[in-house]
Symmetry: C2
Subunit: 150 residues, 2 copies
DNA sequence: ATGCCTGCAAAAACTTTGCAGAATT
DNA sequence: AATTCTGCAAAGTTTTTGCAGGCAT
């Protein structure tokens, strides 16, 4: 079971409020809105502008700056995980667990790489004096025009 | 042997010129300067501003815009590999082969993760319809304040 | 001589910050 | 009421682009 977080949030304001408070964040309207959009339902991958559009499109009232602040706050308290994609923009993942990502530049899309797609999982060692904070694995994909099956 | 490229370039203008020409790039002064700095000697990891400072510090005459253009050109023709680090800046690696990276945010430093630090190497599968273009693995490190040896 | 490349500056894209007002406790 | 947060705009970073002049072929 990797979706331990998926149904913690039942979309009620109460649950979201508790969750934010537990993380040490004041449950403001904007933060609740972001939490509703990101932390309820299945995991997702967003960047600031995409989230801004989604919330604004749903009638939410929030500024881009607050989106950035909120995403950074959420990451700081462990509600989100920052992903390093090709260096353009910063993406955030609602799944804070250790896993890999597929990235399709041509479609500007990021999604999880199921562990079944990996032969064996490996944990790299850290050089002495350091410890591993996190491991980012991004698998860049391209549409395969080759019709041949392997 | 993974340093197949290390000594291809003997630092002579001739070799660099040939290399650029082989890649389909005109051997201009600026491109030769960048190539001298990056493609000769041991592999390195740079970002645009760091490279700009290095070259400028050595008396090289090149603009930041040209640095960016050149790095992008070099990547396009396969002389460099782009690395996705936490989303701040874009780094380039002179080692275009498949390997992992250590990243130390506090020191703003990137370096190779020797394969000996990995237990087993894995190749992920691509979802159907796509093929893997490249895999970015970035291991984020933090200074270990724990004195305990494992 | 032709065409590609460079430099500069301007702009574009992304992200952070400052301050006054508003919401939360 | 005190504190924290939001919004807006302005500024900061990083990267790209346009155009006139320069260099490579």
């Amino acid at each position: 079971m990797t979706d331990s977080k998926t149904d913690i949030c039942d979309n009620s304001n109460d649950t979201i409020t508790k969750r934010l408070r537990a993380a040490g964040l004041r449950p403001t309207v904007q933060r609740r809105t972001v939490a509703e959009n990101l932390l309820c339902g299945p995991h997702q991958h967003v960047d600031a502008s995409k989230l801004f559009e989604t919330i604004s499109g749903n009638g939410g009232r929030i500024s881009l700056a607050t989106i950035y602040n909120t995403l950074n706050d959420f990451e700081r308290v462990g509600l989100l995980r920052r992903i390093a994609i090709s260096g353009e923009r910063t993406w955030f993942d609602t799944d804070t667990g250790d896993h890999r990502h597929y990235y399709i530049p041509d479609e500007d899309r990021v999604f999880d790489c199921p562990s079944s797609a990996l032969v064996i999982d490996v944990t790299p060692r850290a050089p002495s004096g350091y410890r591993i904070e996190k491991v980012d694995v991004v698998i860049h994909l391209e549409a395969d025009t080759t019709k041949t099956s392997d």
